[in-house]
Symmetry: C2
Subunit: 430 residues, 2 copies
């Protein structure tokens, strides 16, 4: 490929605009890593006048021939959706040797093998990471990292809408109808949620994943599915009492070297890795005797997340610059190391103190003088001594260290203070 | 590269033997996907006589020159470990244009930038997925899928030994010393566990991850670390009461575009994704505004797991066959679909029944006649009616369906039975 990669894009909605923004913002990184500059030369839209902030109007067109008929285009990005006319258009592009990146789950689940055959014949590449679980790189991991790992089972929470609804039913005791309404209010579910709650969306994704995991041909019609729309909340509750969590699962596995794949509500034990996947998150659990269990977790939807997956597919087609690793960035120093006094953290603090009046007040005032405030206190007397445990609000670490130094010298403090960082709460550096 | 790829391997311990076995067993898959046949032409060992089941003795040598001095070798796999003489040997190979796959964490964390510079100069490739978290493909995901995702934080449980010890301290109330002794008994900890429990092992891995995530140069000496060896079990317990879980974490993040990275014991809220990672598992949580949170989980060690990562690096250097996707496997039918009567599952069954004597006995006998046995029963009376909830042992699904059909027709059963699959327990298909 030449130094400049010419891209045509079909569609320019939320995902398409995200793709343009990411390509623009990360152009330097992309050029260093791949040796290529990317130029989006044409973007097919239905309405030239629609509001698309930041998009150069001169690249817009309403004529698909300006992209499909342009042999100088190296890669077509398809984010318009739908099976028709997308199917014919992409077949034509792939057959001509133009590589395609698509986010189109329905198209892949219905016509994947045909499109892949066209790519093979045309000597082009077809990539579709964004079609399943948005930015979670499950297709790349299956296709590349685990190509020779002989996967024998793929289990996934591959629909965020249903996972959100089930999490609310379990966590907050909501009915299915109330949880669905809440999901719709928050934008996790569409006005017509049938595709999601009925299981068809998950079935399309499982057809794609299962094809790649087992190196075989599975179409959406091969995947029986049922959804969560007829689940009763009492079953969610009873399951919970018995130590299970209700999930809508895609389950694909090899049974005597034949493929079994389906989508249905299922109970998983509370200590199972998929049980902990809450909210609208997706997760895919891959199993093989070689790698045991590998799980990938993340947001399974979202415009920027999906756009990020599209861009990673473009980079994957370009490949890395020969002999480079991130364009040699690691050989340079790159960024500086952060100075210690720039860091903040929340902390757990345990103090063993003499059990006498006013100790808590004196400890608190030492912390306060250093500008460190207290979120939680737990105090327990044990004979002559007492134990103070505190969760400290996020503060500059230097201030916390100074306060701890002073506390250690207080006569009432009878043992060295124990200080442990708290990470991953709203209080902590994320 | 020619059709046949000639490989030299340095070292032939557990990981090396695993690599040879995987390359042999998956040769067909590899050839279809990459277009190349792999031939391991020489393997450097210290002792020609050691027991290496399944390894062809004619490829063994004790002379490194037979590999380093052989220009016909395309890729060197380094699984001998150690920094010296490995460092000099790999520099020489990379400088000559021979690509290298290594599992050597200490070498990378100390000399990664220098090795990468040699690769860039020699036009060769250096891959090291196996050096961090074994088969969890975190390096590939960071380097390829998330190359343009502008990662701003990497948090990881990257040492399985310490995670096992902390999980036992929390779950079973063990002391640090007892949990360590148990980890040693089970092979999760070495006789001298200092590298693991003191945090040095995690620091080396974080140096590597952080370099790639932030496209910058971070060596092990840049990573301050402390371990779990001085933790007191009362802090694990109190943290647990307060809703936190103790983990040994690697925490790397950008602070005003500077790099902060360190390894230390930390408390994470019980509902944080990393809190659920138990046993000897590893997990890496990647954050960016584009992809939000993506987490990869799996076994962070193990001979076959590490060997699998080495093989995936070899495949990554070969690249996929132009115009192919899994060698066109998806365009063929590949494997058959499993027949429904081949499937087994465990189930949750809820029955609403009339509250009269003998109902449970009659329900149980219907299940028994179909060969379906019961793991758990929960019975609750509510006025004239009662509710029976059962977890059914794993059984052929056809037999369960038959039993449910008969139960639905019993006069005592007052509502359609509710049947939900149980997945992921010892009782279920995994």
């Amino acid at each position: 490929m030449s130094d400049i990669i010419r891209i045509g894009m079909l569609g320019c909605g939320t995902v398409g605009q995200g793709v343009l923004r990411i390509l623009h913002e990360t152009a330097g990184t992309i050029e260093r890593a791949t040796g290529h500059r990317i130029e989006v030369v044409k973007v097919l839209v239905r309405d030239l006048q629609a509001d698309r902030p930041g998009v150069d109007p001169s690249v817009l067109t309403t004529d698909p021939e300006e992209i499909l008929g342009d042999d100088s285009i190296d890669i077509i990005i398809e984010v318009m959706g739908g099976v028709d006319p997308t199917h014919d258009w992409l077949l034509r592009a792939l057959g001509h040797g133009t590589s395609v990146v698509t986010a189109n789950k329905q198209l892949l689940a219905r016509h994947g093998p045909e499109l892949l055959a066209a790519a093979e014949e045309g000597g082009s590449e077809l990539r579709f990471e964004a079609s399943v679980c948005a930015a979670i790189p499950v297709i790349k991991v299956l296709r590349e990292s685990l190509l020779a790992a002989e996967i024998d089972s793929v289990m996934g929470i591959v629909n965020g809408t249903t996972n959100y609804i089930l999490s609310e039913m379990r966590g907050n005791g909501m009915s299915y109808a109330d949880a669905l309404a809440q999901a719709q209010d928050l934008g996790y579910a569409e006005a017509d949620p049938t595709e999601d709650v009925g299981g068809a969306d998950a079935a399309a994704k499982m057809a794609i994943l299962c094809s790649i995991a087992f190196h075989t041909r599975v179409l959406i019609d091969d995947v029986p599915y049922s959804g969560i729309d007829s689940l009763q909340s009492e079953d969610v509750d009873i399951a919970s009492e018995l130590g299970f969590v209700m999930k809508l699962l895609g389950v694909a596995r090899l049974v005597d070297d034949a493929v079994s794949v389906r989508v249905h509500p299922a109970l998983v034990p509370a200590d199972h890795p998929l049980a902990a996947i809450g909210g609208a998150d997706n997760a895919v659990l891959l199993e093989s005797s070689m790698v045991r269990q590998i799980m990938l977790v993340g947001p399974g939807a979202g415009g920027t997340e999906t756009a990020s997956a599209v861009v990673s597919d473009v980079l994957s087609i370009l490949g890395s610059r020969p002999g480079s690793f991130l364009g040699g960035a690691l050989a340079d120093a790159g960024r500086p190391m952060a100075a210690d006094d720039a860091l903040e953290s929340a902390f757990y603090l345990r103090l063993e103190v003499a059990d006498e009046p006013g100790v808590l007040a004196r400890v608190s005032s030492v912390l306060g003088e250093s500008g460190v405030s207290i979120l939680t206190v737990l105090q327990r007397g044990e004979g002559d001594s007492a134990r103070l445990v505190m969760i400290l609000h996020r503060s500059p670490e230097a201030q916390v260290a100074e306060a701890i130094g002073r506390l250690a010298e207080m006569p009432e403090v009878t043992a060295p203070p124990v200080l442990i960082a708290v990470v991953g709460s709203g209080e902590a550096p994320r």
